[in-house]
Symmetry: D2
Subunit: 136 residues, 4 copies
């Protein structure tokens, strides 16, 4: 499938940093959230609408590898793309880079289950599947 491509920019807040002066490690997963939401939005759907239509996408697994620190006021470029999918799951991949110098700051993935509102696994909706199938 296609590698992650830039979908959003995020400027690091004071409140995102920790006393090391770096973007706190857990907060990178907030940027991953932006990444997958904007990847979907760029293709004409929105996660909000999916949820309103009864499809939830809880995270089953998440991982990040930290390459270099992001600092206060840095602009982080968020690249995202689905990496693989099954009948009821999808794995998104992310690369965060520093806008100023292009350094890779963080790479990671999130694995999601498609779930109905009552908590049961659910086949990927056709309109979403179509998006994934275009990614080859």
């Amino acid at each position: 499938m296609l590698p992650p491509s830039p979908v959003a920019r995020y400027r690091v807040l004071y409140g995102d940093t920790d006393q090391m002066g770096f973007l706190y490690y857990a907060n990178h997963f907030r940027l991953f959230e932006i990444g997958r939401a904007e990847w979907i939005r760029a293709r004409g759907l929105s996660y909000r609408d999916l949820e309103a239509a009864g499809t939830l996408l809880p995270v089953v697994e998440a991982q990040a590898r930290y390459r270099a620190p992001a600092r206060y006021d840095d602009i982080v470029v968020i690249a995202a793309a689905p990496a693989e999918y099954g009948w009821a799951t999808v794995k998104f991949q992310y690369v965060l880079t520093h806008e100023g110098d292009g350094r890779v700051l963080c790479e990671g993935y999130t694995l999601h289950a498609f779930m109905s509102r009552n908590g049961r696994p659910q086949r990927i909706p056709q309109e979403v599947l179509a998006l994934f199938e275009q990614q080859v």
Copy 2:
């Protein structure tokens, strides 16, 4: 009414601090949340149960005055108490102090509306009113 009294302790996380090395200003309001929840719990009710029974308590106004910084790993003593109430509102007051040296770190309040699940103002439930009336 009675002044705020200690209801909880909170140890400042790395992720709570910012690059100044202090508890980020917005995060003090998380400690206020702990304060009002524990004040209620200490009196035999729980906010979770109130909500499950249909009473929501959204914040209408919030204020904090920062006296001294809380640092990483510091233990903050959270004192809370209702300061005043109307037929459908309550104001909680908070004082955060440093456990080690007793310094006041932050004071503030939150004003809440009692609301039903459909978003309409709602009279204070009798069991909650009884708690407030004991505070004189």
Copy 3:
């Protein structure tokens, strides 16, 4: 002085909401932070540079009044402006509105002290004062 004018837009993350489905009350203060940083940046300075040059702007007091909830994926328009200043303090004012329908979601302020790196009060730097003086 001039009233707050739009300086930034912020899309509400899943991670910003709470189980009521609303932007958590403490997180509005993160948007206030964006507001004052972008107000300064729009005038050719940056808070990062101020800090690097030895001027810190810790928050002394903060208040928010919540008018209407911001929901997941909503775009919030952040308006900000200095409201008043003394020789070593400045008060910023904020108005958050819903981009879709223009409703006011939240209003508030933050009061800041100008402080040197060693923690002592410090006169407003001349270049910053010049910005405030243009706001009449």
Copy 4:
């Protein structure tokens, strides 16, 4: 090495949840932070003191697998332990369980580098190494 054992309890805040009503996925990493800090503290050291003495422990990699959701006001039992270590790295493992019913909510790890204040890799301090060597 010894498996993770309980080192702390954490009550889920309103502000930790998202609109699904669950502890937001990124926030589990905050609980992991509590886990490793308390594991160290239970053995007579503190991460704060390590840092003050010049040893930093930035996160190099982090992973979580989510088994079941933690909800508002739930008490989460945090179990932690070092899983393996090299001359300048340590991997901590975590298990989060629901205090009420004992269900596993989340498992994960964080990989850390020992680093000096100037950013260079650093051998594990002797006093920390001693703690790890007791874990067999």
